[in-house]
């Protein structure tokens, strides 16, 4: 009996550690999404497809001999530029239309990018050849795959860096000013279009980095980003749209719930506790955990 108890506890610790690490990756994906929402009130439904593109880019670099971690800054920069271009030629136009234009415009982008990936790279699952960090690390009773650990820690560092950027740099302050009040920010001489483009680029760079990290342990295929993005939408809503701290808290919560749900319910029901938690919290606090009304 005692043994069973200890074992159950160990399993639980194992799951918590796994959930925490998964949550950190969700946080990195979600922070990019919530930053864009905070600054320009746009939910980028193609966020997951940006992630998918980043994963393919990482794969491409790996095929020419540049590993995922070395490739990470390159992919992040590439996605940043991609994001800025998409903002300049497309999102900016959507913002001039009715509110629903940004919803279905980014959905169109989602369909388009998935289709492009399908036609260019086929629907096959593809992985980085000879990925690093294949071992297992034991911390006491908890065994973690090295790749997952690197993903979690990498996501934590990058999320922290983004947070510091928004909190402490001049550009970050400009972004917060635009998020607070667009008109006032314009009057203060802030170039809102530039800030928007920058925020969209940074949002894309977040999934650029996340995509490179995820290639350590995941295969890529045209809809690989969709499930991450779906979780990220829930994370962002749960934390409160536009709130970076909220997204962090919610991401860790969602990561845990997903891992626990997958273990104690069934793998295909892992999202059930996440959705139940979302509905329960949002019915009590319609603006999410840390969102503004």
């Amino acid at each position: 009996m005692a043994d069973a108890g200890v074992e159950a506890l160990t399993t639980f610790e194992q799951l918590l550690a796994g959930g925490l690490l998964a949550g950190l990756v969700f946080a990195l994906v979600a922070v990019g999404l919530t930053l864009v929402y905070g600054v320009m009130d746009v939910v980028n439904f193609a966020h997951g497809e940006f992630l998918m593109l980043a994963m393919y880019a990482t794969l491409g670099l790996a095929l020419v001999g540049i590993g995922p971690l070395v490739g990470l800054p390159l992919v992040a920069i590439a996605l940043f530029l991609f994001g800025v271009v998409i903002y300049r030629v497309f999102i900016r136009r959507l913002l001039a239309g009715p509110p629903e234009a940004t919803v279905f415009g980014t959905f169109g982008l989602l369909v388009l990018l998935q289709g492009l990936a399908q036609s260019l790279f086929t629907g096959d699952f593809q992985s980085v050849p000879h990925p690093p960090f294949q071992g297992t690390l034991r911390l006491g009773a908890v065994a973690l795959s090295q790749a997952t650990l690197v993903e979690g820690i990498g996501a934590l560092v990058l999320t922290g860096a983004l947070f510091a950027f928004v909190e402490y740099t001049e550009t970050g302050r400009a972004m917060r000013a635009v998020a607070e009040d667009r008109v006032a920010a314009t009057l203060m001489g802030i170039d809102v279009q530039r800030v928007n483009a920058l925020a969209f680029g940074i949002g894309a760079a977040c999934v650029g980095a996340a995509g490179a990290l995820l290639m350590l342990s995941f295969p890529v295929f045209p809809t690989a980003g969709a499930s991450f993005a779906l979780t990220a939408f829930v994370v962002v809503a749960l934390g409160g749209f536009g709130s970076i701290q909220g997204a962090l808290v919610a991401a860790l919560l969602v990561g845990m719930l997903e891992v626990l749900g997958g273990y104690y319910l069934a793998p295909e029901l892992k999202m059930v506790p996440v959705y139940v938690a979302y509905l329960a919290i949002v019915l009590l606090r319609p603006q999410g955990l840390l969102g503004r009304r």
Binding site: P98, V103, G105, L116, V282
Partner: protein
């Protein structure tokens, strides 16, 4: 209104002629799909277009009908019974889930619909009496009593009848207290309350009717494909198809969903058939590009743009440039 009725009459006459005259199974299949999606798009349009609560979970109501049909037929009951039964279950589901969620604003509501739909999906997958993940294959029968036919003509007729009913209901909606109230709530919920509109009550009514229409389409779909499982009826992907059809045509307009369904079926499905793109992604590229173009250049959708243009020609609107979408 007279023009709307004339247009609907013309569609019914032409559609019926096609259902009797055409023998090409592929064309009839496209035609059936077009009408079915037009109905689903209109159903979505009631709550998401007129009332402005964008739903990404509408397929669960479609699923109510499809599963009602599967359950009726596999238990030896008439599939006709599935129409009221599926509609009733869908309406109840709409009331129960809408009561707490319809008060949520903007994206919080949309994500809640995804959550509710995912929970319904998970529920179905765990219930043996709902066929779990495997779903149901309906036994093959024939005739009006069994609501099954060896060729596609009668199915097109039934879809046409359902489409006509749904369009007539929407014409009535636009000329009713409910229709005015939904538009007012969508435009400004606080101002709507200030003139005595009870948001929850009227949106629940709209949501229940909307679910009813989707369920009717679900029954027809199940009888047509004779196969019902979660991915083909209640999955997120179906919900998103329905929502995209609604917005591409123009939300909150009478003919928007039909126009959106036309784009979806003719351009996405039709083109895929011609160039053999299914599975290669070309169909998605074309459809995605069309959605992007409409969003960026005609953000009020196809019909919305036409309505604006007509209004401008009548000189009734006097919309200053750039004033769209803001109070």
């Amino acid at each position: 209104m007279r023009w709307h009725l004339l247009a609907l009459g013309a569609i019914v006459v032409l559609g019926a002629a096609a259902a009797f005259g055409l023998r090409d199974a592929v064309t009839l299949d496209l035609f059936f799909t077009l009408l079915l999606y037009a109905v689903l798009g209109q159903s979505w349009n009631w709550i998401s277009g007129y009332a402005g609560n964008i739903s990404f979970g509408h397929a669960i109501f479609f699923g109510c009908g499809a599963y009602a049909s599967a359950l009726c037929v596999t238990h030896g009951l008439s599939p006709w019974l599935a129409i009221p039964a599926g509609a009733l279950v869908a309406a109840l589901l709409a009331l129960v889930t809408g009561f707490p969620t319809l008060a949520l604003r903007g994206h919080y509501f949309s994500i809640a619909t995804i959550a509710v739909a995912a929970l319904v999906d998970a529920f179905v997958r765990t219930q043996p009496w709902l066929g779990r993940a495997n779903g149901f294959e309906l036994p093959i029968q024939s005739g009006w009593a069994a609501l099954q036919f060896p060729d596609k003509g009668p199915y097109v007729l039934l879809a046409l009848a359902l489409f006509a009913i749904v369009q007539l209901a929407t014409i009535a909606l636009e000329r009713s207290r409910l229709g005015y109230y939904l538009r007012a709530l969508r435009a400004n919920h606080a101002a709507a309350a200030s003139v005595g509109i009870d948001e929850r009550r009227w949106k629940l009514i709209a949501f229940a009717w909307s679910a009813t229409m989707a369920a009717a389409a679900g029954v027809l779909y199940a009888q047509y494909t004779l196969f019902v499982d979660p991915p083909s009826t209640i999955a997120l992907a179906i919900s998103i198809d329905i929502a995209l059809i609604g917005v591409v045509g123009g939300i909150g307009t009478l003919w928007g969903p039909a126009a959106g369904a036309l784009v979806y079926v003719v351009l996405a499905k039709g083109v895929a058939l011609r160039i053999g793109g299914t599975g290669k992604g070309y169909d998605l590229v074309i459809y995605g590009a069309i959605i992007c173009l409409i969003a960026a250049w005609k953000p009020h959708g196809i019909v919305g743009t036409v309505v604006d243009a007509l209004r401008r020609r009548r000189g009734a609107a006097d919309i200053p440039p750039g004033a769209t979408g803001t109070a």
